[in-house]
Amino acid sequence: MLNVESIRKDFPILSSKMNGKQLIYLDNAATTQKPKQVIKAIEDYYKKYNANIHRGIYRLAEEATAMYEESKQKVADFISADGIEEIVYTRNTTESLNLVAIAWGEANIEKGDHILISEMEHHSNIVPWQLLAKRKGAHLDYIKINDDISLNMESLKEELEKKPKIVSLTHVSNVTGTINDIKEIARLVHKAGAVFLVDGAQSVPHMKINVKELGCDMLAFSGHKMLGPTGIGVLYAKKEILESMPPFLGGGDMIKAVSYHSAIWNDLPWKFEAGTSNIEGGIGLGAAIDYINKIDIEEINKYEKELTRYALERISEIKNVDIFGYGYENLEKRAAVISFSIKGVHPHDIAQIFDKEGIAIRAGHHCAMPLVKRLVSNGSVARMSFYLYNTKEEIDKAIDAIIKVKKIFGVE
């Protein structure tokens, strides 16, 4: 059982106010707040260890290098990868997905090839593939989704018959919280001979991930959605895939030797990290993983389920409020992301009234326009998303805010 009261004390921002009211932060799918342990790790790095990593022949540089590489080991252990050579640091999930679409795509996609994604993707897992398809003259295909916003497995099987070279799919929808059955999908994708990339932005922070059990070839996620700083993201990829891929960006640190007309690439994972790294970001992410490990990701997941069940039950009692995706009776198939709408009220107005109550939620297309346009014709929904520091009392306040919105708009 989580000790939420003591967890909340680790997050300085949670005791602040917004519009004169106690801040209630329910926008965790966008970014999470940071515990003082992460803030301190970054501060300590600049106060005690700041030096450029890898080639400095002095103690300080060696210490900074060790801390940075240690953070990669923490990431590798966190998702059960084989080692740090499979962990590439990027800026965020978006950059990780782009890295694959650019570097892997350059070497492997040819004219007429098929690339397969789904209708429930975030723009970051749509646009890089559109660009690649256009560059190469390849086809971009979509796996359809069902009315309950689950992946249509029949459509997946049909699309796999076109023999795509790569399938890139979100693990958890950032709009409806739908959890895709990655293990089963990986089996089908591999049977069809494709490479399987998973967008883990909304899953890695919230559930136990073991890349070997999941069976994906690559996994992209962001540090800032899991208590870490912004500007640090991860691409996990199997060693043989990274070895066969050309570099992403060129520059310092990604080479072993450079002559006038050629260069020898550095070892993994450094071959994919050109220029001075986001050292504070890596160290901050390491501290975030330490924090999550101390609490235990399984416990966090259990607690989030409890909050989600409570919120879904309470919201579904309210008339003229729609929830998108699975309800509380399918809790095991959905994550702590709840998109909703109130009849006759634009989601921006919902978010504005919540803001007045000190409650941060998100409204709009959530960077998933194809999916949200399918949910509602105006392409906009309101969304609340939870993390380990949220409470049932906060959900009660959100429910009160929904009732207030209904009252202001005269919704029955």
């Binding site: 989601p347 007045k356 709009g364 906009s380 202001i408 005269g410």
Partner: protein
């Protein structure tokens, strides 16, 4: 923005003024926001350099609809030069409140449509 004011705007949202398509108009212009789905079309009928009649149609949030309502009320009988000069500050004055950067486009969408409609009406003459 305080709640009282939201309620006044909400009243306009529920019972907007001039929300129809004019049967006789010189030009129409539609502005659509990809990000939030606000969708406003302005219909305009000129007489000389003055607005003889104006209406709007579409859908959107409280700010978009109540602004369109107030702006079409305001524009009736005004000269096109006067309306062409209007900017975001004039809109804030009109609705009696300022809006934050994330909602700015909701407040200006109907003015953009109005100014585009004036441009089209002038071109067609």
């Amino acid at each position: 923005m305080d709640d009282l004011y939201i309620e006044e705007l909400v009243e306009l949202y529920k019972h907007p003024h001039n929300k129809k398509k004019l049967s006789d108009y010189d030009a129409e212009a539609r502005e659509y926001s990809q990000t939030c789905g606000d969708d406003i079309t302005i219909y305009i009928k000129l007489e000389g350099n003055k607005v003889k009649d104006i209406s709007f149609d579409g859908s959107g949030c409280v700010i978009a609809i109540s602004t369109a309502s107030k702006l079409t009320d305001y524009a009736k009988g005004k000269s096109i030069e006067e309306l062409e000069k209007m900017g975001v500050v004039d809109i804030f004055k009109l609705i009696g409140t300022e809006v934050g950067p994330a909602r700015l486009h909701c407040a200006t969408i109907s003015l953009e449509a109005l100014q585009e409609a004036i441009k089209k009406a002038k071109e067609s003459k």
